[in-house]
Symmetry: C2
Subunit: 194 residues, 2 copies
């Protein structure tokens, strides 16, 4: 998606340790107009896949999921990273390792919100090693739900998560795939296939 | 807002300990059409207040903030509850006590996203004792930003947070104010003033 790639080139910041900061429009401050156009693009790619629910994980994914759900007219459900006293009843849980926060954490989803009748579009802002995505896929498997598609805003193509998911046959659409970036801020993108 | 109050009456669940569960449409599964109408209502109430930024706190507030920001055409910025390796530079921080999670936590906001030029609408899903809101107000004070309004989906009117903020002169609009609820599920709302 050229609009997103241009924004990454103009406002993204490369940090040591393969960190790409896009906090001024995607995951701290949110450019809602850009998110709406991202949602329209995900709808264009997945509109024929029978999506009836969008699944994401707090926190950054919620903005992308909501702005995309408007185009599909389906509900969003998001997995929680912390156990709340207010989650009761049966829950799906899966353990995820976060490189960003340097620890493992459990994600939780109330079972009543995901089941075998669901055809799910999983959305998130970043895909690198794919640890969080594996947790969301595990939750879908526990629910017996069908993963109809995976939509990612920015994939780090030099890390294995995305290519592993493609090799497994998932319909994975990443709107910007960063194949390389260096500490001088040079970023090269892989041509998009959708 | 009658639409939200009706939804609370039809789908909200009262739990012991003054817990009102609205996880099927507001803070776990998200009814995006309802959130869009909530955003339109916040715009109706605050459109003349010169809002140029919407501030919220992860995670549930992000959905409400994004769906409201569309109507104002302003950016959203959300305070983070966990310290990420990827937040660098100067940050505002404030300590908040969470009754839901039973602990204190620090909220963090990058200083570059909030300053004296901002007229802020603070949004969140719930207001009870107001501890999270105090943290967001503290961040605005540190930034020198003007708090032009506070918008809440569900206020627990039998807890002090909302009335304390009104007494301090804030323009606080709660779309549903629960004045009482009992374990039999009976809920009474305070008439809305906006």
């Amino acid at each position: 998606m050229k609009l997103l790639q241009d924004r990454i080139l103009s406002q993204g910041q490369v940090r040591p340790g393969n960190v790409l900061k896009v906090d001024c429009f995607l995951n701290h401050q949110l450019d809602v107009e850009l998110l709406d156009q991202i949602g329209a693009e995900f709808h264009r790619i997945f509109e024929k896949d029978g999506i009836n629910k969008i699944l994401t994980i707090e926190a950054s994914g919620i903005a992308i999921a909501c702005m995309t759900a408007r185009h599909f007219n389906v509900p969003v459900v998001f997995a929680k990273k912390a156990k709340s006293k207010n989650i009761d009843g049966d829950v799906y849980t899966s353990t995820v390792h976060s490189y960003t926060y340097g620890r493992d954490y459990d994600i939780t989803l109330a079972q009543k919100f995901l089941g075998p009748e669901d055809r799910v579009l999983i959305l998130d802002d970043f895909l690198a090693n794919g640890k969080a995505m594996r947790g969301l896929l595990d939750v879908c498997k526990q629910a017996g739900a069908t993963v109809a598609g995976i939509g990612i805003c920015i994939e780090k193509g030099f890390q294995p998560g995305g290519d592993e998911l493609r090799a497994e046959g998932y319909k994975l659409a990443s709107l910007a795939i960063v194949d390389s970036m260096d500490d001088d801020g040079h970023i090269t993108f892989r041509p998009c296939t959708y």
